[in-house]
Structure formats: structure tokens, C-alpha cells
Amino acid sequence: MATPTDSVRVQVLIGRDTPHGRFQDAIYLSMAEFEAMKDAELEALQDERVGAWISAVEDAKHRAPEKPTRAELEEARARALAEVAEIDGKLSRGDHKIVSAR
């Protein structure tokens, strides 16, 4: 049976200065979790979060952007074809700005 407090969550803000800039985060805990947690445990949780972030920055892999999927490429191709056809249409109709009257 859910109680009203089950939906209440405590936001624990984290703000630490690190070699990579200031780290700002938040941890969300249920009231029960928060009340059961000792300060040292909460501190450890925050340390873990900060440490994970520092690792993420320091271990960042420098990889090329993800390749598109075949479906994405096919969609892009179809869109391009449709756009080309429409542009061809505008060119044929003269739907373009006249930049010089001479």
C-alpha cells in the first residue's frame, strides 16, 4: 500500500570544486532512504558521484561521431531527392529572387 510520503523525494544538492571545474549535481532519495542514511553514507554517496564525474571527464574517449543507420541514410536520401525535385520546380517556375534588373 503506497503512502503519500512514498512520492516525496529529498533532493540532496552537490557542489564541489574539482580540477575540472565546479561540479554541480543532485541526488534524489525517498524520505525513508534519506532518514535511514547516516551523514557519512550520504557523504560517501556524494563522493562517489563526484568521483564518477571526474572519471568521466578524464577518461573521455575521443571517438568520431556515431555513424548514421541505414534507415537514417535512406531517409536523408529520400528527403534530399524530394527537396531537389521541389527546388527544380522553383527554378523552372522562376520562383527565385531577381537580384539585378540589368
Binding site: G15, Y28, W53, E74, E75, A78, R93
Partner: protein, 705 residues
């Protein structure tokens, strides 16, 4: 493949008559009748008249836009593996009669001088081109049964329009304009888990489907307005109806919360979903875009694999022992809360927020491997905690609110022109770890960027020159902490509170776009001596402008093509003038305010100066000023000089209650120390020597006590 051109005017296109076929435009007839691997062109050299198809045709393509006669398909079956194009401006008539036409791309984009009679024809789009460029004409029946994204453009009218989905999860029917269907509009997804998405080609811009009758199943909609006499009450259609936002005139299946049960499984398995927490599998449904997916303490353990491309919201609160992964790129329309999730897998398929309301993203300390995109016109995705991803963050439309939490991503993109907003928050650090061509890539059109007091920190190991494309916007702090022997290039006339260059590990190069003006309040570097090269990307000058008054001093620069404004503001010490600079003062040490500066030894040549203002406390181990060098000290400055040598017209004009302590003072030429107001004190603790007293044009003076 051969090219065949119709020649000789009026005639029948049959299976054997070669009279009208040429290998070149306007050439001699007698070429073979085109077959499946041949292209067919009817053009201005075809001779006009009426070309009547009297046999089944199978060719690679038909092009008739420049034709100046009548093409009558005469009820025959026409198959082109590629394009059937009637676009152009030839005075032409195309009559389809009752023909069944199959093509990969129908192109009637330009209808100039076209008389088009669709009759009762049926056009079926097949193949990978998957496009119908209708040109706003009136057609018979259009049928689409191919997989992938079917694209229709032109505000067309159809007797009947059918889009059938296939046994894939990514079929789309994309509308470039509103369509009118005088008969039946059939939108048929393959199944409840292989759904068809009907959407506008422009997210946030609705397209209207006006239909006399509507038949729909297993279908989701986005930016579609349902209109016409047909019933758009799709609440209980087979496979139900999904609402991806931006729709009107359509009644959708009501949203529900579906609870994951049974541990490991794929999200398209209805047996994994219950209508209540811990309920029986199958009592729920595979979540629709408007639904919520709830994983909780009754969900079991194991890996949940999202294989549906659209999901409403995810909430893992109170779950335990769950790993979440994806096997498809997907869009989500609500909030995500990973609190309680055991493991967020390294799956890299992109995730796109497309919600039209307000949603939150709670990562709970998990790092994403996915590229994240916010493409949500009118929607807002707000961070509830720090966001870390080893891929790009892109804001295409809608609002991304950082809410003051850190953002760590490979690179950031907010290009395009859709209305979009990025709120970076107070004190947040946005760390961009990538080595991509444009690490920060934004366009100003449609973009509202609120920098707050954030810091953009670039940390990638650069393997080539990389770009910060700021689009002329205002930022707060930017820090170049990249590594690798390559330049960071700025484009746009951007404004920063502070630019900081970290050259502590190695020399850095920062280049600005010629002709741009970069405005900063401060410009700083690390305390080291590695040279920072500042220049332009091309062989012309850029401008650096200081805002907020005061001065900027940078050490160990190599400067070229740099114009600094306003004057007497930008100082470069221990630096190299690489040429084509203006506004920079080389060899100067400006000190302001309450700054306390200790200099071991300083040699100030030519017009070198040590201007100090306010509560400056300056300690010089040894200073040599020559030429017009000066130490103008004002207010309550306290200046301690170990050894000071003034020559030429060098001077120490001081004001206010200056305390000037000199270890030894050497004056030559017209060197002077003047304290025009009280209280004033000049103490020479060491030696006071002067040179040039005997010179006819030399003088020196020491005033005060």
C-alpha cells in the same frame, strides 16, 4: 543500361515498334524498344503529338518534363525501378487513365504547362527512393507499401491514399504538405509493435489530412491535424493510436501507466507489461508515446531492452537489479528517472526528446553513451541532476534547461533555425570532452541562449584544429583546457565574461575569425610560461574588445593580427609581437584596484609603464624603465621597489597617499619622482644616485620627504 529517346511525334509505345526510339535526343529512330534496364526520355525533340502506350512497360525511368505532346499511358501497367518524372515546363499533357504505375520516385514538382489527367489510375511507390513529389495535383489512388520513411510533398488531392506499414518498427509516412483525400485514407501499421508513424516533415508544423473516410490501425501521429467527414476518433482502433504531440482533430487512446514485470525482456513483449505494479503480465500494453513505463520493486531483475522506437516516460524509481539498454534509436515524450536503476548500459543508439510539455531528466549519476537530442517544439526538458554522456548533446527545437547542474558531453550542437532555448544555469560547468570538428556548434537564428554564470570547459585532446562556433552570442565563462598541439578556433563575434586559456601543460593556440569582434570582461591564462599564440584563422585581423573597464594583462603571448580595444587596456608582457597587431601594449604591467603583485624583475622598454590605481600594492624586485617608462601611482598605492633605474624621461608621478619605498633609486636623464599631494612619502633605503647632473639638458628631482 541504355538511354532511349522518343522521336517522331505521334505513335504507339508498344513492345516491338522501334520507329520512335532513338539513342539520342532528336536522333534517328530504330533503336531498340526500351527494356527494364533502360531509361526513357520524352523531350522537346520528341516531335510532339500523342504517345500512346499500348503494352506493358518496364523501364528504369521515364522523364517527360520537357515533352511538348501528350503521353497517354492508356490503362497500361507502367513500372519504373527508378523515377517517373513529369516535372518540367514543356507544354505537355499526361493522361494516366486506369493505369497501374509503379515507381520508386514520382516527380511532378514543376507543373508549368502541364495538363494532368489522373483518371482512375493507381500509383504505387516502391523501392528505396520512397518519395512522391506531387506538385499539388489531383491523383487517383496512391499506395505505399515500402519500408522506411515515405515522403510526400505538394498539397495534393487523392481519390484514395493508402500507406501500409511493414514488419519493421521504423516505418514513417512523412507529409511535406497537407493532403486531401476525397475517398478513403488508409493508414495501416503492420502490428501493435510494428507501428506506423504519420508525421509532418517539419516538427512542430502541423499538416492536415482531410479525408472523407479514415481507416487506421497500429498508428502513431505527430503534428497531424485530422479533418474531413471521416471519423478521427481513433481511441479503440486495432493496435490503438499513439499521440506524439502536435496533433489536433484526432481523438487518441487514453494514456495509462504500464508496469514492467518479469525481469529480463524486450519492451515490445506485451507479456512484460502489467496494468498494476506486480500485476499479471499482459494486462498492460506495450507503451504508447502518451503512456508511462514504470519499473519498480515488483519488476524483477535482469536486462530491459528497449526495442520500440517511441516511448512515453521511463521511471525506474525503487527498482533493483535492473539493467536498461536499447537496441534501437528512440524518441521519448515524457520524463526519465533513472533513480534505482542498477546499470545503464553503454548502448549508443540515439535518444531524442520530442515531448511537447515539461519533462525532467534524472540520470542519478549514470553516464549515457547515447547522443541526446532535444527536438521538441514547445516542450522543455529540464535536468534534475548532472548529465553525463560520451556523445553529443543537440538542441534542435524546444527548451533544454540545465537548471544549474553540470553537463558533460562530447560536443554540443544547437544549429538550425527552429525556435529553441538553452538555459545553462547558475554556476554550472559544461564540459565538452570531444575532439570533433566543431566542439560547440550553434546558430543564432531562433536560438535563445541564457548563459547564467556557467562555464564552458573544453577538454578534448585535439588531433586537428577544432572550432567553437559561438554564432555571435553572449556566454559567461569559457575555458580552453584542450590538449594536443592544435588550435582552438572561434567563429562569430561572441561575448564572454571570461576567456581562460590553460596552457599549463603545453603551449596553446587560439585563433579568432578575421573581422569578428570578441568581447570579454576578462581574459586570463594559467600562471605558467608556455606560450599562447593568439591570431586570426585567416590572414586578416580580428578584434578583441574589453568590456567593463580596467585592463587585461596576459603573459607569454605570441600575438599577430590582433586588434585590441579600447586603447591602453590590453597589455602583453614577456610576449612576442608577431605583427599586424594594434591596440596592444607590449612590455607593460598595469595594476589596478586592490591587486597585490610581486614582480621579481621587470624590464620595461620604450613606453613600458607600471600604472597602479586604487589600493594597489606593487613589489618590484628590480625594475628598469627606459625611454618614456613610468610608474604612475595613484590613491593609496603602496609600491616597494628593490632597485629602480629610471632613465630618459622615465618618471614616477604619484598621487594620493602614496607610500613608495625604494631599495635604491637611480635617476638619469630627466628621470623624476614626483608626489604632488600630501600625505606622501618616499623612502630611499638604499642608495640614491643620479647621473647626468653635469649634462646641460639633464635634470632630476625628488620631491617630498
Amino acid at each position: 543500361m541504355a538511354a532511349r529517346f522518343w522521336v517522331g511525334g505521334t505513335g504507339n509505345w508498344d513492345a516491338s515498334d522501334t520507329t520512335h526510339w532513338s539513342a539520342s535526343s532528336g536522333g534517328a529512330g530504330g533503336a531498340s524498344v526500351p527494356g527494364a534496364s533502360d531509361t526513357v526520355t520524352l523531350d522537346g525533340s520528341s516531335g510532339g503529338g500523342t504517345v500512346t502506350v499500348t503494352a506493358t512497360v518496364s523501364v528504369t525511368s521515364i522523364t517527360a518534363g520537357a515533352f511538348t505532346g501528350t503521353l497517354d499511358t492508356n490503362g497500361q501497367s507502367i513500372t519504373t525501378s527508378g523515377t517517373f518524372s513529369i516535372t518540367g515546363s514543356g507544354a505537355r499533357t499526361v493522361t494516366l487513365g486506369s493505369s497501374a504505375i509503379s515507381c520508386s520516385l514520382w516527380n511532378a514538382g514543376t507543373t508549368t504547362n502541364l495538363t494532368f489527367n489522373a483518371g482512375t489510375s493507381t500509383i504505387t511507390i516502391t523501392g528505396s527512393n520512397n518519395s512522391f513529389v506531387g506538385g499539388g495535383l489531383t491523383y487517383g489512388t496512391l499506395v505505399w507499401s515500402s519500408a522506411g520513411t515515405a515522403i510526400i510533398t505538394g498539397a495534393n488531392t487523392f481519390a484514395n491514399l493508402t500507406r501500409n506499414g511493414t514488419a519493421t518498427k521504423t516505418d514513417v509516412f512523412q507529409l511535406g504538405a497537407s493532403q486531401t483525400i476525397t475517398g478513403t485514407l488508409t493508414l495501416a501499421g503492420n502490428s501493435s509493435i510494428n507501428r506506423l508513424l504519420i508525421r509532418s516533415d517539419t516538427r512542430g508544423t502541423a499538416r492536415t489530412l482531410t479525408a472523407a473516410a479514415v481507416s487506421a490501425s497500429n498508428v502513431d501521429f505527430q503534428d497531424i491535424t485530422g479533418a474531413g467527414a471521416g471519423s478521427w476518433n481513433l481511441t479503440a482502433i486495432s493496435g490503438l493510436s499513439g499521440d506524439c504531440g502536435g496533433n489536433s482533430g484526432i481523438t487518441f487512446t487514453s494514456p495509462v501507466t504500464n508496469y514492467w514485470v518479469g525481469g529480463a525482456g524486450n519492451t515490445d513483449a506485451v507479456a512484460e507489461w502489467a496494468s498494476t505494479s506486480g500485476g499479471s503480465g499482459g494486462t498492460g500494453r506495450v507503451p504508447l508515446p502518451q503512456d508511462s513505463a514504470r519499473v519498480d520493486s515488483n519488476s524483477g531483475t535482469g536486462t530491459i531492452t528497449q526495442n520500440m522506437p517511441r516511448i512515453g516516460s521511463w521511471d525506474f524509481t525503487n527498482s533493483s537489479g535492473i539493467t536498461w539498454t536499447t537496441s534501437t534509436a528512440a524518441s521519448f515524450f515524457g520524463s526519465i528517472d533513472l533513480t534505482g536503476l542498477g546499470t545503464l548500459s553503454g548502448s549508443t543508439q540515439a535518444y531524442t526528446y520530442e515531448g511537447r510539455g515539461a519533462s525532467t531528466l534524472t540520470s542519478a549519476g549514470k553516464s549515457w553513451a547515447k547522443a541526446f537530442t532535444i527536438d521538441a517544439p514547445g516542450g522543455t526538458l529540464t535536468l534534475a541532476d548532472a548529465f553525463v554522456a560520451s556523445a553529443a548533446l543537440t538542441v534542435t527545437a524546444g527548451t533544454f534547461a540545465g537548471a544549474g547542474f553540470n553537463v558533460t558531453v562530447l560536443n554540443f550542437v544547437a544549429t538550425g533555425s527552429a525556435t529553441r532555448a538553452v538555459s545553462m544555469g547558475t554556476g554550472a560547468t559544461w564540459t565538452l570532452t570531444g575532439d570533433v570538428a566543431t566542439i560547440w556548434s550553434v546558430a543564432s537564428s531562433g536560438l535563445t541562449l541564457t548563459p547564467g554564470t556557467s562555464t564552458i570547459r573544453l577538454t578534448g585532446s585535439l588531433t586537428a584544429a577544432r572550432t567553437f562556433a559561438g554564432a555571435g552570442l553572449t556566454y559567461y565563462n569559457l575555458e580552453n583546457a584542450t590538449t594536443g598541439a592544435h588550435a582552438l578556433q572561434f567563429t562569430g563575434s561572441n561575448t564572454f565574461n571570461n576567456i581562460h586559456i590553460d596552457a599549463s601543460a603545453a603551449a596553446r593556440t587560439v585563433l579568432f575569425t578575421a573581422g569578428t569582434t570578441t568581447t570579454v570582461t576578462t581574459f586570463t591564462r594559467d600562471a605558467g610560461t608556455n606560450v599562447i599564440t593568439i591570431g586570426s584563422i585567416t590572414a586578416s585581423s580580428h578584434t578583441l574588445a574589453k568590456a567593463g573597464g580596467g585592463t587585461i594583462t596576459l603573459d607569454y603571448l605570441s600575438l599577430s593580427r590582433s586588434t585590441a580595444t579600447p586603447g591602453s587596456t590590453w597589455y602583453a608582457t614577456n610576449s612576442t609581437d608577431g605583427g599586424s597587431n594594434s591596440g596592444w601594449t607590449f612590455g607593460a604591467i598595469p595594476i589596478e584596484g586592490t591587486l597585490s603583485t610581486t614582480l621579481g624583475a621587470a624590464t620595461l622598454l620604450a613606453n613600458g609603464i607600471v600604472p597602479s590605481q586604487g589600493q594597489a600594492a606593487v613589489t618590484l624586485g628590480a625594475a628598469t624603465l627606459s625611454g618614456a617608462g613610468a610608474v604612475p601611482a595613484q590613491a593609496n598605492a603602496a609600491i616597494v621597489l628593490g632597485v629602480l633605474a629610471l632613465s630618459g624621461s622615465a618618471a614616477i608621478p604619484s598621487q594620493g597617499s602614496l607610500s613608495l619605498t625604494l631599495g635604491s633609486l637611480s635617476l638619469s636623464g630627466s628621470g623624476s619622482v614626483a608626489t604632488p599631494s600630501f600625505p606622501r612619502q618616499i623612502t630611499v633605503e638604499g642608495s640614491l644616485s643620479s647621473y647626468g647632473l653635469a649634462g646641460s639638458r639633464s635634470s632630476y628631482s625628488v620631491e617630498g620627504s
